[in-house]
């Protein structure tokens, strides 16, 4: 009997080793360990053994059973692992095939640039305000120290809608609107759409975008203006960029300056981008004209302030190296998809 048991064990272990899959394994388990299995059959004959032999053979039988059970479990683990391996191997993908794409939406480049500027100025404590695009002559010109028939009006060709109604030529129109119903301290930017009767070409559009900035408080100086603009310039053009003030004229600021930044293409040495100047003009600015302050009910003897106007379209075209401003308004999808 002992020899029988040893034989069963040997046969079973051999078969288990050669067993190819989980299904065959289950068959082997039934064959040897099942209720009608070979081991059970042997054990049923235990009764025929002598009392001395019985515990000895019983122990051997249990050992064989345990060995087989362990071997089945072990083989099962092996086969499971192999089966998983096989499945994973079979499931291998060509990961170079394209993904299931959902088209990326996005904002217009002008919006992206505008949002960048808003974030910069908002973080410096500027409120972001809006103004009407159809303005009265008063807010677009008179309140900004540009009386009727002043030659400064020639600087901007204005679209008129009626006697005193026009499409604002500058976001500066928001200055008086802000100051009229607010006392200092004032820090605001007003981004928005402006209009001038310029024929359409690569660098001109009758519709374009600006962002006006205005700061009014006690003791504001031109140095504050430079500090504020330098912050903005460093954010947009990089911390190496230099800022230069150049005298200019705007009716609503005095002193007035054009603000140039060192050309990023050549670092100020002079190249094709800056037309050899080493500097690129980016915006106009100045100290708020005392008459503008007074006209809005702010005492110029007590308060001073600065204002600036940034052309967003120009900033956008230079940032993305867009050669023709018309592309911004044409809205070809292949153009828009380049900005994220």
């Amino acid at each position: 009997m002992r020899a029988q048991l040893e034989q069963i064990k040997e046969n079973a272990l051999k078969e288990l080793r050669e067993c190819p899959d989980l299904k065959a394994l289950d068959g082997l388990r039934v064959k040897y360990l099942g209720k009608k299995g070979e081991l059970t059959a042997i054990l049923k004959q235990m009764g025929k053994l002598s009392a001395e032999e019985r515990p000895v053979i019983g122990q051997v039988a249990n050992e064989v059973r345990q060995t087989l059970e362990e071997a089945v479990a072990h083989r099962q683990e092996e086969l499971k692992a192999r089966e998983l391996e096989d499945r994973l191997a079979a499931e291998k993908l060509d990961i170079t095939m394209p993904g299931k794409e959902r088209a990326l939406g996005g904002l217009h480049p002008l919006s992206i640039v505008q949002e960048d500027l808003i974030n910069i100025f908002q973080s410096m404590g500027f409120d972001v305000v809006d103004g009407p695009e159809v303005e009265t002559d008063y807010y677009c010109f008179e309140a900004l120290n540009v009386p009727k028939d002043h030659p400064a009006r020639d600087m901007q060709d204005t679209f008129y809608l009626g006697e005193n109604l026009l499409l604002r030529t500058q976001t500066s129109a928001a200055q008086a609107r802000t100051m009229e119903h607010r006392q200092p301290p004032i820090r605001m930017v007003c981004p928005g759409r402006v209009y001038r009767a310029d024929e359409v070409d690569a660098t001109h559009s009758p519709v374009f975008h600006q962002m006006e900035g205005l700061v009014v408080d006690k003791g504001i100086t031109m140095c504050d203006l430079k500090g504020c603009l330098e912050q903005f310039v460093h954010e947009i053009y990089g911390p190496e960029t230099q800022v230069r003030f150049r005298p200019s004229f705007f009716p609503f600021t005095e002193p007035s300056v054009e603000v140039d930044v060192s050309c990023s293409a050549c670092g100020g040495k002079g190249c094709r981008v800056c037309k050899g100047a080493g500097w690129i003009e980016i915006l106009g600015a100045g100290m708020v004209h005392p008459r503008v302050l007074a006209g809005c009910g702010i005492d110029p003897e007590v308060y001073s302030g600065f204002a600036f106007g940034i052309g967003l379209d120009r900033l956008t075209t230079t940032r993305y190296k867009i050669s023709d401003i018309r592309l911004l308004f044409e809205n070809d999808l292949r153009f828009l998809e380049q900005f994220n």
Binding site: A103, L104, G105, L107, H108, S111, E115, Q122, S123, M124, G125, F126, D127, V128, V129, E133, V134, E135, D149, H150, P151, A152, D154, F159, L161, G162, E163, L165, L167, P185, Y195, A197, V207, D217, G219, I220, T221, M222, C223, D224, K226, G227, Q231, V243, R244, F245, R246, P247, S248, F249, E254, P255, M287, P290, L328, F329, N331, L333, R334, L336
Partner: protein, 799 residues
């Protein structure tokens, strides 16, 4: 303002290079638009004398010339021109020379014979008849005068000069003059400014005896000065004056006309010369024109005038358009003997309006429009008379007629120096301020900290400390302004709620694979026809531009759809297979027409899409997503937009808001065709105000997650074909509203096995109670109630 460097040097010693001068002027407020070094336009072009001409042995039309170009021996030049002759002085481009037209001339051979250069025509030297007599003759330019062979042609053509084009800002009309620029040059270079001091002798006879001047409209002509000159000796001007006039792009005529032009360029004050015989009645009347009066100006053009225009008239009628152009009848002629010289200040806006109305723009009107200085009027007159004497152009009569209503008194400003520095934020030393202001002709003294500044009359723009601060700083140098952090109270920067909500919307749409577009706010009125809007449609009440760039951009938009369709059409025409786009913009809705007050600017968003995967329901899905995000609950109901497919459009309305919150649908084929769209396209327009209002009312409060399991039941009913799906769903929900959690449509079917006129509609229902697990009986009961309710609207359980 184009200024010749040589001309500037008459008034100020310029020791620096033209480049350095340009840099310094730019940094003091006179931006240089262009600098043209005339001497660099050509090189190695010399005067040559033709010694001998022979026919080319191998070419009929070529001539072989021996030319003395100042070297040891004559050189041989072959030319095809036929106007050359022995002894002629001609411009010769020698070997390795450059011409202003860009040509690089080298030695070469023509039909076998060497040619050591080229003789030049006027055209090759880019000359016009007005630049050099004979320049436009066909053939070689034959030089006048007696030049030594070998002389550089730049000397012959006065090209040893630099023309600098300064951009003059509108607050500095005084610098539309060579003297004005020269004064600024002197200041930036710290050199003396030598302003001419006029003096002249008179030669008997008094103007008062032969002329009278009446100014009727002082409001348009605050000052008018007349002088007379007799025994005119009209001839050519001297070379120096001709050079000056030519450097400004004007044409020398004769000494009298040249003097008035020279003085205008030099002082910025226009003048006008009349032939005294043509002043009828010997009287000058400065008055508004009578409506319908006519004048023929110097350029030969007739004009009909109105009472808004100022004229210089004599006893019979207008003889000059004040400040713009003289009349043909009274111009200076070669036989003019007696001259009446006018020098006046006309109001700038009057000149501007008249010039615009008549479509004229002259050197004179340009200066008047920018404004001339009332005191400079007499200086210019004296300067002109000085030149008349200097050029021996005539005998100056005694007397001056000066019509004005009193000249403005000198303005004196007293400003604390500290207040200037306070505005600038820098410490400009007081002596430096005083020095700068004095150099700018603002006579300044200092007492304690107070500056007393006498403002010259040509500096109208200086009104207070801010202006003085600018004058000081632009000369002292803006590089002294150092960047400091903004001082003042710290404030939090806030966005308006509308802007925050708009950002939310834009980002939401971008997340729906949509691309933002930007289009013009004005459109063509034809777009409204293409949208097939009814004559009475309120969107036809548009605000019209009075001066549009063209019809295409002539009315403010009252809807965004037409702009979107234009963009869809563009993309479609460029074979882009699918697009999803949106635009946030304003609708301009007038309160009354024609507009007398600002129109309402209503924020709206337009969605537009096309492509193989798009249909009405993809668009509707996006609109639903937007409405959901903003917390708007509204039903989609059929709408009747003329630009949309009549059977494929819907709108959402909210109580208390007149316009639909949203209108959406497939574009009507006729509208699509009008915009040039060949495929099915879908558009929606949403008003933002009600969306934002709903969003602001939204309060997010956490709802506990369900504790008890849900039961799922499927349901298929046969309903009438016309039965709106939304009604079925509503019926299902309301029949068992306490436990119906979700009604999910999964199939709508018509066809075989379905009776005619019916459709099969299948739902998956999720039933759940918040406080217990539903029993099968409860679910069955609910389903029975639902079926009963459905039966009432003729929707029967499908067996």
């Amino acid at each position: 303002m184009k200024v010749s460097l040589n001309w500037l040097k008459r008034y100020v010693d310029i020791k620096v290079s033209a480049e350095e001068l340009c840099d310094k002027m730019t940094m003091s407020g006179f931006e240089v638009e262009e600098m043209i070094d005339l001497s660099k336009t050509m090189d190695n072009v010399k005067v040559g004398r033709i010694l001998k001409i022979e026919k080319h042995p191998d070419a009929d039309k070529l001539q072989v010339c021996q030319v003395d170009v100042g070297g040891d021996a004559p050189i041989q030049i072959i030319t095809g021109a036929q106007n050359v002759f022995e002894g002629a002085l001609v411009p010769c481009a020698l070997h390795d020379s450059h011409l202003p037209n860009g040509a690089h001339i080298k030695r070469g051979k023509l039909r076998g014979l060497p040619s050591d250069g080229m003789m030049c025509s006027g055209e090759e030297l880019c000359l016009k008849e007005s630049d050099y007599p004979g320049a436009e003759v066909y053939g070689i330019l034959i030089l006048q005068g007696n030049w030594t062979p070998g002389t550089d042609m730049r000397e012959v053509l006065d090209l040893n000069d630099v023309i600098i084009d300064f951009s003059i800002l509108s607050n500095r009309p005084d610098c539309n003059s060579v003297l004005g620029i020269a004064r600024e040059v002197a200041v930036v270079l710290k050199e003396e400014f030598h302003m001419p001091v006029p003096s002249f002798r008179t030669a008997g006879g008094n103007i008062a005896d032969c002329m009278s001047i009446t100014v009727e409209d002082y409001d348009l002509c605050p000052r008018y000065i007349g002088r007379a000159v007799r025994n005119l000796r009209i001839k050519e001007s001297p070379d120096w004056m001709k050079r000056c006039i030519k450097s400004a792009g004007m044409r020398p005529i004769n000494n009298i006309v040249d003097i008035t032009n020279f003085v205008m360029l030099e002082t910025g004050q226009p003048m006008h010369a009349f032939d005294m015989r043509d002043i009828r009645g010997a009287q000058i009347i400065v008055r508004r024109a009578k409506d319908g009066e006519t004048i023929t100006t110097l350029d030969g053009k007739p004009h009909t005038l109105n009472s808004d225009m100022l004229v210089i008239a004599d006893s019979e009628g207008p003889s000059c358009l004040a400040g713009i152009m003289g009349g043909l009848d009274s111009e200076i002629k070669p036989d003019t003997t007696d001259l009446f010289l006018e020098c006046a200040k006309f109001r700038r806006d009057s000149v501007r309006r008249t010039a615009r109305t008549l479509g004229m723009r002259t050197e004179s009107s340009a200066r008047y429009e920018k404004g001339v200085d009332i005191h400079n009027v007499s200086y210019a007159m004296e300067r002109a008379l000085q030149l008349i004497e200097e050029l021996d152009a005539g005998d100056i009569m005694e007397g001056i007629i000066d019509r004005n209503q009193g000249l403005p008194a000198e303005r004196i400003l007293q400003v604390p120096a500290a207040s200037i520095n306070a505005l600038l934020g820098v410490d400009v030393p007081v002596p430096a301020m005083v020095e700068i202001l004095n150099a700018l002709a603002i006579a300044t003294t200092v007492e304690g900290d107070t500056l007393t500044c006498r403002i010259p009359s040509f500096r109208d723009d200086i009104e207070g400390r801010a202006d003085l601060a600018e004058e000081v700083m632009r000369i002292y140098g803006y590089e002294h302004i150092t960047a400091t952090p903004i001082r003042g109270a710290l404030t939090r920067g806030k966005k308006l709620p509308e802007r925050i909500h708009t950002d939310t919307l834009k980002n939401l749409l971008a997340a729906q694979s949509m691309r933002e577009i930007t289009t013009y706010s004005f459109i063509s009125p034809k777009a409204l026809d293409a949208l097939r809007l009814d004559k009475e449609d309120s969107r036809r009440r548009v605000v019209t531009l009075l001066n549009p760039l063209g019809e295409e951009y002539s009315v403010m938009r009252t809807q965004l759809v037409s702009s979107m369709l234009t963009v869809l059409a563009l993309n479609d025409s460029r074979k882009i297979p699918a697009v999803r786009m949106f635009e946030v913009g304003k609708l301009f809705l007038p309160k009354a027409l024609p507009v007398t007050e600002q129109p309402a600017e209503i924020p709206a968003v337009c969605l537009g899409l096309y492509g193989p995967d798009e249909d009405f329901f993809t668009l509707k899905g996006i609109v639903e997503t937007v409405l959901k995000r903003f917390g708007v609950n509204g039903d989609f109901t059929p709408s009747a937009e003329p630009y949309l497919h009549p059977g494929r459009q819907a709108e959402v309305r909210l109580p208390g808001y007149d316009a639909p919150v949203a209108v959406l649908g497939e574009v009507h084929p006729l509208t699509a065709a009008d915009f040039g769209i060949d495929i099915r396209a879908y558009v929606a327009e949403l008003r933002l105000e009600p969306l934002f209002a709903a969003l602001e009312k939204q309060q997010t409060i956490y709802q506990p997650l369900p504790k008890f399991p849900a039961s799922t039941r499927d349901l298929s009913v046969l309903a009438d074909v016309d039965m709106p799906i939304a009604q079925l769903e509503k019926t299902i929900r309301s029949a068992a509203s306490n436990i119906v959690e979700k009604v999910q449509l999964f199939d709508v079917y018509q066809g075989s096995q379905i009776p005619e006129g019916k459709k099969s509609v299948s739902y998956s229902l999720v039933l759940r109670a918040s406080d217990r697990t539903l029993t099968d009986e409860e679910c069955d009961h609910a389903m029975a109630k639902i079926l009963k309710a459905l039966e009432k609207i003729n929707a029967i359980l499908r067996q």
